[in-house]
């Protein structure tokens, strides 16, 4: 028996050198220390020996067993360590491209969801528009001086690129009975140069609510919630009288200049205020034009430039950056 143990020891020594990885280590463990391993077999054989010898040999096998266990554990942690540290886990990962949203898209979404949460439905219309929808139906007849505020790009005498999103109002009101509660975002065009403060192509959002009993106070509430939502609860705003042929009374919303906080700076032309949007109660003539009785229904409408909101919100001073698509710009959104 003793000889058997010594033989085993030298076998073990020879096999130990062959352990190179976790697999060979595991095979080795099963062979010697497994439930049916060599050492357990030796213990079984011991049963036939006298007590004295049993104790002595048993001790020896136990010592061998714990030595092996110790060895295995050291090897095991050694191998495990190698497998973890084979790569540098702090190197950057393999990233591809991250797609960024365009700021105008972001602002449009923000505006849309504000109004959608209040029950407004998104509507759209064509960018090539009839003079009727763009002007006449909105109470801007031919030779009306207000047409100068909408210097337009024409395709034929009667077709033009819409100069605002208000024609969508008319298109929806023609086809739908009140209540009408819509928001119409879209692309508009003007006869303007492409310079830091103008673009011949720009975007607007039009909002319209026609129902029984719609009032100016409701419009005021909506505006106050809207500016707080978009610019934060601390924003100061003023609703001022204005003129649009398609609303009466008409108003214009100005907010405190985001750059100077109202102290006056070049951005706000030293007034401390920035014009944000135009609004008002739908002009009775506009309702008549779409065969909605102004005696029964009233409504409010408002319109704003998406670029303008984005420029105020993100302090952008050149409208052209929206259309250059410089990645260094897009990456910021």
């Amino acid at each position: 028996m003793e000889q058997k143990i010594n033989e085993l020891k030298s076998n073990i020594n020879a096999e130990l050198d062959k352990i190179k990885d976790l697999n060979t280590l595991e095979a080795f463990r099963i062979r010697y220390l497994g439930r049916k391993g060599i050492l357990n077999e030796l213990f079984k054989e011991l049963a036939n020996f006298p007590l004295e010898e049993k104790r002595k040999l048993g001790n020896e096998i136990n010592q061998l067993k714990s030595k092996l266990n110790e060895f295995l554990n050291t090897k095991l942690s050694e191998f495990n360590q190698i497998s973890v540290f084979r790569i540098d886990p702090l190197l950057p990962g393999r990233t591809g491209y991250v797609g960024h949203r365009h700021p105008l898209s972001l602002i449009q979404d923000e505006i849309e969801s504000f109004f959608e949460n209040l029950g407004f439905v998104v509507a759209s219309g064509p960018e090539i528009e009839y003079d009727w929808y763009n002007f006449e139906a909105l109470n801007i007849p031919k030779d009306h001086p207000a047409r100068d505020n909408f210097s337009s790009l024409f395709i034929t005498d009667e077709l033009l690129l819409r100069s605002h999103t208000s024609p969508v109002q008319i298109r929806v009101m023609e086809k739908t009975k009140p209540p009408i509660k819509i928001i119409c975002p879209g692309r508009c065009y003007r006869f303007d140069p492409f310079d830091p403060s103008h673009s011949p192509v720009f975007h607007q959002v039009e909002v319209l609510y026609v129902d029984k009993g719609v009032s100016f106070g409701e419009l005021k509430w909506l505006l106050s919630e809207f500016v707080k939502q978009i610019f934060g609860p601390k924003i100061r705003y003023e609703l001022r009288p204005s003129f649009f042929p398609f609303t009466e009374p008409s108003g214009e919303l100005a907010i405190s200049c985001a750059v100077c906080q109202g102290d006056g700076c070049p951005v706000c032309g030293n007034t401390g205020w920035l014009e944000m949007l135009g609004c008002g109660m739908v002009h009775p003539q506009v309702l008549k034009n779409v065969k909605i009785s102004p005696k029964v229904y009233s409504g409010y409408a408002l319109g704003m430039g998406i670029e303008r909101v984005a420029m105020i919100k993100y302090l952008i001073d050149d409208i052209r950056v929206f259309y250059n698509n410089d990645m260094r710009f897009l990456e910021q959104f």
Binding site: L91, P92, R94, T95, G96, Y97, V98, G99, H100, R101, H102, S105, V121, V122, S124, E127, I128, P141, D143, H144, P145, N149, L153, F154, I155, L159, L161, P179, I180, K181, I182, R187, Y189, F191, P193, P200, V201, G213, S215, F216, G217, E218, K220, W221, S224, R240, P241, S242, F243, E248, P249, S250, T271, M281, P284, Y323, N324, N325, M327, R328
Partner: protein, 773 residues
């Protein structure tokens, strides 16, 4: 409208605080924009007490000028005499940011300068110096003339605010001060004389008055008049014209003086004849149409009514007899002419917004008085014809007003508010408002609501949370798809771009587009057409980024394009990609985005949209070195291609898909239980001639095997070494499946055999391997 604060203060008889004025302007719907301070320097008024010729230099005089002290100034100005007041800038003082120095004229010291109109900026050239008609010796310029001029933006429906009186009246309302300027507004009486004036077009000219003067002396206006005109943005011309301009600025009523000796009476107000010629004061020639309104005599038009006078009848220094026109013209007709001919004048701005019919006669009378005083004129006749102004009333409902404005005002409160605007209200529930003659903008009931709200203060109206709910039914499934596409493209690493929809027709021609929507009045050549594709904008975006050193890009745009026949618009998705596959990774594998990355993006996009049966077909597209059409059951959805190197010197790919067209292909998902029986998978590889194309082989396999083959995947493609030239190896993996049982190997073997035979006979292929997976 430019407004001199000094003038406003004269009318209102009080000092104005500009900060308070700004606030009031905002609350009433005006905006004070730029402010100009006119004070060119440290100027003092001096009196010439002695003039003596320079002892040695000809054409120079030595002046002794008294301000608070005495100045000796040498001058070449000849327009001065003893006791004239002049503007002096003493040496050592500033003029236009420069220090005036002492000068020596052949031993005679000159200790300052006299100011000319040219130096003051009110004339382009002047020979003499300014002789001052106001102020005393020793007074400072800034105390007498210095003026702050405000550029006030007024709404286009308020022509009354295009006058100093109107502005003063509006500011007095806002500031709560009494407007004590008493305007006379006598009743209009008609004095007909068809030998002098005939209105043939009453629609164009509801009222016309002509006041006739003799013995007029036309000369330069005094400095104070020229200065005021200059502050108000106009130029001094002569005393007659200047008086009409000053009165127009004061009252808002444009006036026009004609040299009566240069016209043949009677003057006729009529529509122009088609192609009638008209020569303006400046000498520009216009061709007229029947909607233009002219003032004419026997020989033709002497003025384009309400816009501009003709050269043939203008006031000159030799004018002795004058016909002063004061009239009311139809705003639409003036707007038509102004817009068509592109001539905007101070008169046309006012007439097209609507002048004050009731003031036509009165302003003529006032101006006549001024002519008598300043031009020695003798009034000989007054002719007035046409419509007379009538007081205007608007009736309105108190309850409706309160409900629209979210207010609860009683009749007295309404009366007290509106009287501030000089609107008199009577009645109890149904109210009647008498509108002041100058308020052209107040026409309907709602205009009165606005006036009430304006005086009440927009910000004082309560915020009301609506107590009702409303639903508008608009079903637009495109919105959800567009949102999905945008998010999907973002997720695939594409950044969103916005590009102008206006492009250059020349570039479109170069790209092979011959039909597209062109603009009638383009801004310039760069923006004279509407884009028929998203390609140009995205190409520009690539180039812009390349020029900034961003060479690896994935960009997209969702936007409308326009098609020429029918002027229709179509929503499209366009994308470009190119550059490194992993631009930020440290392990450089030199992997670039290739054609198959682009095509894979398209394929995945359709898979994400659950659109099946997408086919790619060979396609030629100008601007692309290779391209394929993207189709679904013969419907063209878009294309994909490699951008030609002439357009982009790096390898970039572009694809464009019509969103409107794919909308019709999207169906609601429907549920299919997952298959219960496993697929039997086989790999077959063939050697093909190089011209055999994968879709053709796949189609054949599908046709031969029928529904038992669930899908066919190309898993191997090889060409090159170890293969004969002109040959390629294609390996297909076939998934066999039956819905109701597990297929046996024998069954599948039979199909495989059939497929192999068909492929070999149809494509002349050779079988390479066959494997069971």
């Amino acid at each position: 409208m430019l407004a001199s604060v000094k003038w406003l203060e004269e009318i209102l008889n009080t000092k104005l605080d500009i900060k308070a004025l700004e606030k009031v302007a905002n609350n009433l719907g005006m905006e004070i924009g730029q402010q100009y301070q006119y004070c060119p320097g440290d100027i003092v008024i001096g009196r010439i007490v002695k003039i003596s010729p320079h002892p040695t230099l000809k054409n120079l005089n030595i002046l002794d000028i008294k301000t608070t002290t005495h100045h000796q100034i040498v001058t070449s100005a000849m327009n001065i005499k003893l006791d004239d007041l002049v503007f002096v800038v003493a040496s050592g003082k500033k003029f236009k940011d420069k220090i005036v120095g002492e000068r020596d004229f052949n031993g005679v010291k000159s200790t300052g300068m006299l100011v000319s109109e040219e130096e003051m900026g009110i004339a382009e050239k002047s020979t003499g110096v300014i002789v001052v008609d106001r102020g005393n010796e020793g007074a400072h310029f800034k105390d007498v003339f210095d003026d702050l001029v405000l550029d006030i933006k007024v709404n286009t429906n308020r022509p009354d605010l295009l006058s100093i009186l109107g502005l003063a009246r509006e500011f007095s309302l806002g500031l709560g001060i009494k407007f004590s300027y008493k305007e006379k507004n006598p009743e209009q009486v008609n004095h007909n004389d068809i030998a002098v004036v005939k209105i043939k077009d009453l629609d164009g000219c509801p009222r016309y008055t002509a006041r006739i003067f003799e013995d007029v002396v036309v000369k330069e206006s005094p400095f104070s008049v020229k200065w005021r005109l200059s502050c108000m943005g106009m130029k001094g011309i002569n005393n007659v014209v200047d008086i009409t301009n000053i009165n127009m600025l004061l009252t808002g009523q444009p006036l026009h003086p004609f040299d009566l000796d240069l016209i043949k009476e009677p003057i006729i107000i009529r529509s122009a004849q088609k192609n009638e010629q008209f020569v303006t004061l400046e000498g520009t020639v216009f061709k007229l149409d029947e909607k233009d309104l002219v003032i004419a005599d026997k020989n033709g038009p002497i003025a384009l009514a309400g816009v501009i006078g003709a050269r043939c009848s203008q006031i000159t220094n030799s004018t002795r007899r004058i016909l002063l026109e004061s009239a009311f013209f139809n705003p639409r007709r003036i707007a038509h002419t102004r817009r068509r001919l592109g001539i905007q004048t101070e008169a046309s701005i006012r007439f097209e917004r609507g002048a004050d019919l009731s003031m036509v006669d009165e302003v003529s009378r006032m101006t006549g008085e001024d002519f008598k005083i300043s031009a020695g004129a003798k009034e000989v006749k007054f002719i007035s014809v046409g419509k007379k102004a009538k007081p205007k009333t608007i009736s309105f409902s108190r309850n409706r007003m309160n409900s629209i404005l979210s207010l609860n005002l009683n009749t007295d409160e309404i009366k007290n508010l509106l009287i501030k605007s000089e609107i008199k209200v009577s009645g109890k529930n149904q109210l009647k408002a008498i509108i002041p003659h100058y308020r052209y903008d107040l026409q309907i009931e709602e205009d009165i609501y606005e006036e009430v709200a304006r005086i009440y203060g927009y910000m004082n109206i309560p915020d009301v949370i609506p107590g009702r709910w409303a639903i508008t039914r608009i079903h637009d499934k495109s919105r959800a798809i567009i949102k999905f596409l945008k998010h999907y493209m973002n997720g695939m690493g594409f950044s969103e771009t916005y590009n102008l929809s206006l492009v250059s027709s020349q570039r479109l021609n170069e790209l092979g587009y011959s039909e597209f929507v062109k603009l009638k009045n383009p801004l310039n050549e760069r923006f004279n057409a509407l884009r028929p594709t998203l390609f140009l904008g995205l190409l520009d975006a690539i180039q812009y980024n390349h020029s900034k050193g961003n060479n690896s890009l994935k960009l997209f745009e969702v936007g409308n394009i326009f098609l020429s026949p029918g002027f229709t618009q179509e929503k499209r998705l366009g994308a470009v990609l190119g550059g490194e596959l992993y631009p930020n990774f440290w392990e450089k594998a030199d992997q670039n985005i290739n054609y198959f990355d682009a095509k894979g993006t398209v394929e995945m996009l359709f898979e994400a949209l659950m659109i099946k049966n997408i086919e790619f077909l060979h396609h030629q597209q100008v601007g692309f070195s290779q391209a394929v059409k993207i189709t679904s059951s013969d419907k063209e959805l878009g294309y994909l291609g490699i951008i030609a190197p002439e357009l982009c010197n790096r390898e970039f790919f572009f694809f464009e898909i019509s969103i409107d067209k794919i909308l019709t292909l999207i169906n609601e998902p429907f549920y299919n239980p997952p298959p219960k029986f496993p697929a039997n998978i086989r790999d077959i590889a063939f050697l093909f001639d190089d011209n055999i194309e994968v879709p053709a082989v796949k189609n054949l396999i599908n046709r031969v095997a029928g529904p038992i083959v669930e899908k066919v995947i190309l898993f191997d493609y090889y060409k090159g070494k170890n293969l004969p030239a002109g040959k390629k190896n294609l390996g297909f993996r076939l998934y066999f499946k039956a819905p109701d049982r597990t297929l046996t190997d024998e069954e599948v073997d039979n199909f495989v055999k059939k497929i192999i035979n068909e492929v070999i006979t149809n494509f002349g292929a050779t079988l390479r391997t066959k494997e069971n997976n």
